[in-house]
Symmetry: D2
Subunit: 319 residues, 4 copies
């Protein structure tokens, strides 16, 4: 079984290539640059969409907007597609346009796309040809939140705070003032408060606009930790919330509900794991959710989805 | 005007000594170790309470419990006291006992103690003999919250989330697993969720138990950033909240309400400043408050309070 | 094939357990604490030397002095031993005593011990029952130096400077002032100049006391980079030195002589690789050698040696 | 007394502006951008050479090549000049051209320029109109080496290794792959081995080409630590070398020869200090020299030189 990775020089693309090199069944046949004009570099080919027919799956790690046309070519060539960009995450093209400032590049493909938050979409992903790999922040928030919402443990209409912190690899491989060592080390900041593009994705997947998502930039390279605050319905506390999570994820190899202590970034570093913890604080239930943003938040979940879509064992090549 | 610093080898004590060495009017006469059995070290004397009479002010940077008896000796010797520990922050000795697990060591002195959140207690601090220097987390939270609560812009009974992140200097100079480089670098965690000792202090000073405070440990040395989420009363948004903050702090040299962007740790690094920012997100008003935990969160505010109490210009020796 | 790891909670021990959990042929049967009085912890058993007979190989990751008696018990129980401590590295018990301040704990076993710098001791390691795994610094220095010394390209009697820099994991998992985040981050220092215990080991393996070794502590967790300066014999420059290295390591899977640029820590991070680079500077030939101190400098090389000693493919379980 | 800073947005320029804002006698009248086409930014004016006549001293923090023409304009306008760039450090325009790849932009001014390694050029700097502020690496190397060379304690013709390590602020404020957090954190590398432009400067000031200088990039923001290895003349050891240093710097407020332990970056962080330590290792004398690269290695020494040139007390405004 063969794979192409488009955008192999970005952080998600690099991580994906690393995972595929260690994958026992999926072969990294075509690591490609993400843009037509980008020349090949060490170990990475020039973009060549004519070769999509040689592989079984194409992973797209390009910027949003650039992925959709490539997805069409790959699908036409008979390959399955896992899109790590944002192009197929939002179901409503009007929301896409409002969020990304341009018309959706392939609205006719939206119906075919499956939102691949694997643990909550396993059956759809299994048969899918086009998978929208979730954003890093949404993955961290939704894994902690969905079982609790589904169990109807959250008071309707109350705000659910998702205070999220990400390592700087989330800001990409391009050198900018944001990624300059001098601005990251010893620093910490909130950014795009009330304006981050992952918000509509969270709202769509959660089925509610109660979630107030605020991202922050950590002085480290990898990892996301989301601290979620919710108002439980009367009579419910941390115990029932933890139970709902534990029950939902009892058989999941990549999600652990800890009972010993709150999880931290090191618990999931370089793995496809999500660790969850629950506590109570002055009437709020606090859920802490941690992932490696480049693995479960991007390349790892992409491999997990590809495994499923290709009929392989879901956890192959993942730690 | 002369000062003693007890506990000069801890991080707050070191910072205080540094500030006093650059202070134009307050002379660091007696830098002392914090415990009777601790021998003198380079530039730091053994603890000698008999010498408290030689100075005008004694700064106490000891662990809680140890400060109160030293405060009594210093007051008896005629010195003013700025207690950087937690001993005189809580007005109710029962709350102290519930929080710190031991009876209050000097309940008779509690009435005399002034809670020194300087910008909100200037007149009391000016005449005070015994000042309880606020905790680092409470300082960051309260500076952002008090003016908004006083202006009655927060919906009664709704939770106010205070998601706080601190550099590791807050965990102290003692080598522990928590402060080991291998556990801090590349890591991030929530801790003592629902159980941190700064909570009663925040509740007391805010005059409400609405505040849900959760601390986190950042992979950097200095600084606190608090992200505050509140439900405004009907018709109120970020604009009015910012206005309330801007009006309250219009004349304050050490508090800045930014309108350009959200503040970050570097904005206040190595200064006694607090920077505030305000935004709106899906019905919540989000206030970001940043301080240097060792300066405005400890030694800086202690100097600011001592300046006031001793009749000096409030900002002397502070950046 | 089964393995025990004694000292599984230290950094080398943790790394070794991680490698063995991913090893296709060597099974981590007995992860044990390093000291008799240390209780079992999560996933780690109490030390139980009676069980050494259950395994084929015992890895010793204890402090020096403690390993030798354990090695004897393991050998007596029929297991092979890879000693990651310093107990069997120095051939001369008098040098051991001068270096470690105590008589050698098992001088009768010294003859049987093979110094396991794998690429330079493959045939001896293959049949060995007791392998002294080299120190982290010596590994980085010797891999860059031995082929050049063997090719007699260094001017006799001239100093060979080995300016070495290590991440803080080399200082161990115990919380000390040295490993406190506040002393590591943003800092850098030379230490034990002229006194480090790895010096006799380097001199013994290099067969000369020309090497001047000075270690430094880097503000990062993993990795060693050694910058080696040598005076070449007349007519020799960087070209011949690089050639000597390239020839020596042409078939080696774990040593790469780069010609594109000087290597850095990221090149070898989390791998068992050593990367080498060569340049000329004002008459000196400069060799830069990089390894991951916990892998090729400890646990990785230990697995490589165990693979050889047990008749497995040398690179199994290594990246 | 008034100052202009040209290039106020780079790291050296920012540091200089910070020092001047706290300077009791030198007033930061004109903080300017470094390039004609760069627009003014917050607190920094556009470059306006017509205003050089308004100040007593112009600090040039521009790239090399750009400083010389500005220096001429400033001198013509009657201001003194401290050039923090490389334009006036090398006495021989041919060496400048070989080093910087372009003809010297103002060879007629070279004679007037004083190389401002303050402790070794005090009398010349005092009367100077044009001061070439030394490079950061040369400052760290020369402060440790010059007294030893002057005392003739180094064996003639032997290599003097200067293995230097710098924080990433030395690579400048511009976002590049080199300064990207992802490439700096957890990494360490040697660079420009045998080719760094500070080498001719070191050779010129040392009066010998014995010095073999190799720079490295540390995973931290500030500071340089140079480890110097030299072959002493017969009968000389670390003791005499330390004595030579101690005697030379006995009265110097900004250079300390430590006898307690080797210095580290934290010892000199945010100060204009240089700390030196000496030890012996296998026949070599090892000198460790540490400075803050943005202070003693750039802006601090620039202020020290300006103080002298303007007839102010040398240490004014410096810590």
């Amino acid at each position: 079984v063969k794979a192409a990775v488009v955008g192999a020089t970005g952080y998600a693309g690099q991580e994906l290539c690393g995972l595929l090199r260690g994958h026992p069944a999926l072969d990294l046949a075509l690591p490609m640059r993400g843009r037509a004009e980008a020349p090949p570099s060490e170990g990475v080919l020039a973009l060549d969409t004519d070769r999509f027919g040689e592989v079984d799956v194409v992973f797209l790690c390009t910027p949003h907007g650039a992925a959709a046309p490539l997805a069409r070519l790959a699908l036409d060539a008979g390959a399955k597609v896992v899109d790590v960009s944002a192009d197929f995450r939002l179901k409503d093209p009007a929301v896409y346009e409002a969020t990304y400032g341009a018309p959706h590049p392939a609205p006719d493909l939206l119906d075919a796309a499956v939102y691949g938050l694997t643990e909550h979409a396993r059956s759809q992903v299994s048969g899918a040809r086009l998978i929208a790999n979730p954003g890093c922040y949404p993955t961290s928030v939704l894994l902690g939140l969905l079982p609790v919402l589904e169990a109807q443990l959250v008071e309707r209409g109350t705000p659910i705070i998702a205070d999220c912190k990400s390592g700087v690899s989330g800001a990409g491989v391009a050198p900018t003032a944001t990624t300059h060592y001098g601005n990251v080390a010893g620093n910490f900041s909130a950014y795009k408060v009330g304006q981050h593009r992952h918000t509509p994705e969270i709202h769509q997947a959660a089925g509610t606009e109660q979630v107030v998502f605020v991202p922050h930039l950590l002085p480290c390279f990898r990892g996301i930790l989301a601290t979620l605050y919710l108002t439980p319905i009367l009579g419910v506390g941390a115990g029932q919330v933890r139970e709902a999570l534990a029950e939902c994820y009892a058989e999941e190899p990549f999600v652990t509900v800890r009972s010993d202590r709150m999880p931290n970034l090191h618990d999931v570093d370089l793995t496809n794991q999500c660790h969850l913890g629950v506590a109570e604080a002055y009437g709020q239930v606090v859920i802490v959710s941690t992932i490696d943003n480049l693995q479960k938040g991007a390349a790892g979940q992409a491999v997990q989805n590809a495994n499923l879509a290709l009929g392989l064992e879901e956890g192959l090549g993942l730690g």
